[in-house]
Point group: C2
Chain length 171, copies 2
């Protein structure tokens, strides 16, 4: 599909999805987090069509999420490794995994994440204040950030008014 509308939307989710939102891309990244780095291995583990895989890997490299590096010094073959930009998606991927674990795998998670050094389980990813207080979705408000366009400001302002109308009086 054509998402030519997305890249100029003033929204980080839309912009992020422009890079990693296509079918397969997230699964390719999951594989990368699992340690897969060769074309054939991605193809084999995911069962993805080879042309699609090639296209997705190219796009991820072009955008700096993955990098192509020689397998060893001087080799012509290369492998795909996560960049720091790519590794920085780990919280997102784990949050999504935990959601799937909670709601789609009541018999228990297929995979557990632990700290390698200690064996400690990781906690559920949560939204917190900078002081560490955990927040519920409904405790949040959205306000324009430094990169907000006038349109975004307008939108968020209307949002705030709508919220006040609904909840402002009854509190």
């Amino acid at each position: 599909m054509k998402h030519n509308k997305l890249d100029d939307l003033n929204c980080s989710i839309a912009n992020a999805l422009d890079l990693i939102g296509e079918w397969w891309t997230i699964l390719i990244l999951r594989e990368a987090f699992f340690g897969t780095c060769r074309f054939e291995d991605f193809q084999h583990h995911l069962g993805i069509a080879r042309n699609i895989l090639a296209a997705r890997l190219r796009k991820l490299c072009d955008n700096g999420v993955l990098k192509r590096v020689p397998i060893k010094e001087g080799a012509k073959r290369h492998e795909y490794k996560l960049t720091s930009m790519g590794r920085d998606l780990y919280p997102t991927l784990i949050a999504l995994t935990q959601w799937g674990d909670r709601w789609l795998h009541e018999e228990g998670a297929p995979v557990r994440f632990i700290e390698r050094a200690t064996g400690d389980d990781i906690a559920d990813v949560a939204i917190r204040t900078k002081q560490g207080r955990e927040l519920d979705a409904r405790d949040l408000a959205l306000i324009p950030g430094p990169g907000a366009t006038d349109e975004t400001r307008e939108r968020l302002h209307l949002l705030q008014l709508a919220w006040e109308k609904h909840n402002g009086g009854s509190r």
Copy 2:
């Protein structure tokens, strides 16, 4: 595309993407978190084709991420509201937003999330141990969970061996 291979994969990400991984779905959910709940409003804000929107909303409702509720007592018109399953995607969405903010909006985030009651900024979503210690992607290991199939166990075992071969000696 047909992802008939995904739903039987023993992987929460694949299973989650089966529900919410299609183009537009995440943006529809973002809108829902912004407070949008009517068909026409989703359509107008996103510029999505009406038939696709109808299909996505139906799927999200069928799977319990959204629910259709009457606009008011006894009304025949309805609106789409996040269920608790849907609200539980907030950490994932915010993690993705923050990733986009960091890597695609160096001029600053379009939107800031704050705690409504206090105005406090929220922290970057991070992976932590249950004790609250923050972890890097590379500190993690994956082990089979209670819902792991034999295939998953085998896969994770090979992963562990590969890791030891690479890093085990040099530590």
